[in-house]
Amino acid sequence: MPAIFTVDPRTGVPLYLQLIEQVKRAVALGSLAPGEQLPTVKALALSLTINPNTVARAYRDLERDGVIETSPGRGSFVRADGASTAQSHRAMDDVAASVFADAAREAKTLGLSRARAAEIFSEQLDRWFPAGDDQQ
């Protein structure tokens, strides 16, 4: 089982949310492949030293969101269409939005004007999304 998950209990972000985000990210990026089995609740709880109910809750939410499927007695697996579900796209949007929100707040408190902030942001967009690089 690839040890791809880590959680930080010291932050204020609930552990089950940290876990959900990481699984969604792993599925969206492909480090968890469709059909791949996730660790059992007990195994993941022990390897992260966190409460088993926390893991179970994360798995329940992931199942509800259509990212994984659980069959009793066999375990939890990444759904064949897990990476392409609307939910997993929306999850990536959420991650991006929260990063942009932090950046915008920081720009504001640094005293930048809205126009200057937009300029800097647009420079960064040009750098990472060169012209002709179609949105996917």
């Binding site: 030293t49 409460n51 109910n53 707040r105 408190t109």
Partner: protein, 303 residues
């Protein structure tokens, strides 16, 4: 009586003479969950455990384990590890294992031997010759070896080094993942934050915080604004229903915000602070918030 609760403490009060050790405590723990009990020394944790397992009588209220007050059969499925060792000093580690093997129908000998090795205990050593941490370890080996449905652990990590503290957490997590219910007290907030799904904080015998760790963390955020000069007067902030409490120290303003932390951050940024950040609360913040203002300062430091 709700039979679905592994533990149900209702309106429990314990007085010693005129001293009220626990006041009107109500706490219910679901089966298969891990409940962490936090609180300063003398806040009533051990008293609660003692009354729960029948070592002391409550002054008022009821304390039920699996739907009824403890009775002799309860102890076939309940393990209690007290804060102070209750082992026989003249017996060896192996003697204790044998003693418990005869006492518990469900005693798992193989498991006990594994745990003895895990804690690196010497079987032939008399318990009286063991360190405090090793006493704790023996008590834990005995408790986890008969696979009880309910575990009551009073500071199970005390005297153990960080490696063995982690072993204790693993044992607690493993027990819960097989359906056992664990209630443990600890002074180490980080342990509770990791392992518990439920946390209860006692102060002076009263329950002051009770909820799931995730709910408690999600319930509040801190919006912190740092100003160049002094903190300005922000009209309406202290009466804003979104804000629970405001703290000012020097050039820093901290608002403890129940909802819409971004809205509060925007409002504060109108006053041109050097920086505004939205901070998540961790369990330590929640604990200090709740127990509040009782962190003694070291004499000679600061003012």
């Amino acid at each position: 009586m709700n039979p679905t609760n592994a533990i149900a403490i209702r309106n429990f009060t314990k007085r010693y003479g005129s001293f009220e050790a626990v006041s009107n405590l109500t706490l219910e723990v679901e089966p298969g969950s891990i409940c962490g009990l936090l609180g300063p020394n003398g806040s009533g944790k051990t008293t609660t455990f003692k009354c729960l397992i029948g070592l002391a009588r409550p002054t008022a209220g009821t304390l039920d384990v699996e739907g009824a007050p403890v009775h002799p059969e309860t102890f076939e499925t309940l393990a209690y590890v007290p804060e102070r060792s209750a082992l026989y000093e003249w017996m060896t580690v192996a003697d204790h294992l044998e003693f418990n093997r005869r006492s518990y129908k469900t005693f798992d000998r193989k498991r006990a031997e594994e745990l003895v090795d895990l804690f690196r205990l010497e079987r032939k050593k008399k318990v009286g010759k063991l360190s405090k941490g090793q006493h704790t370890a023996v008590a834990l080996v005995l408790a986890f070896s008969f696979r009880p449905r309910i575990l009551i652990l009073d500071e199970p990590a005390s005297g153990l080094d960080p490696v063995f503290q982690r072993v204790v957490l693993d044992l607690i997590i493993e027990a819960a993942s097989t359906g056992s219910t664990v209630v443990f007290s600890s002074h180490q907030i980080g342990q509770v934050e990791r392992a518990a799904d439920r946390v209860a904080i006692l102060k002076n015998g009263k329950l002051i915080v009770d909820g799931t760790v995730d709910t408690l963390k999600g319930s509040e955020k801190i919006v912190e604004a740092i100003f160049d000069q002094s903190v300005p007067e922000v009209a309406g902030l202290s009466t804003d229903p979104r804000v629970r409490r405001i703290e000012r120290s020097g050039r820093i303003l901290r608002a403890y915000v129940k909802e819409d932390s971004d809205g509060i951050a925007r409002r504060l940024s109108e006053f041109s602070p050097k920086n505004v950040s939205v901070l998540d609360l961790n369990l330590e913040d929640i604990f200090i918030n709740a127990v509040g203002g009782e962190i003694p300062s070291i004499p000679g430091e600061g003012s």
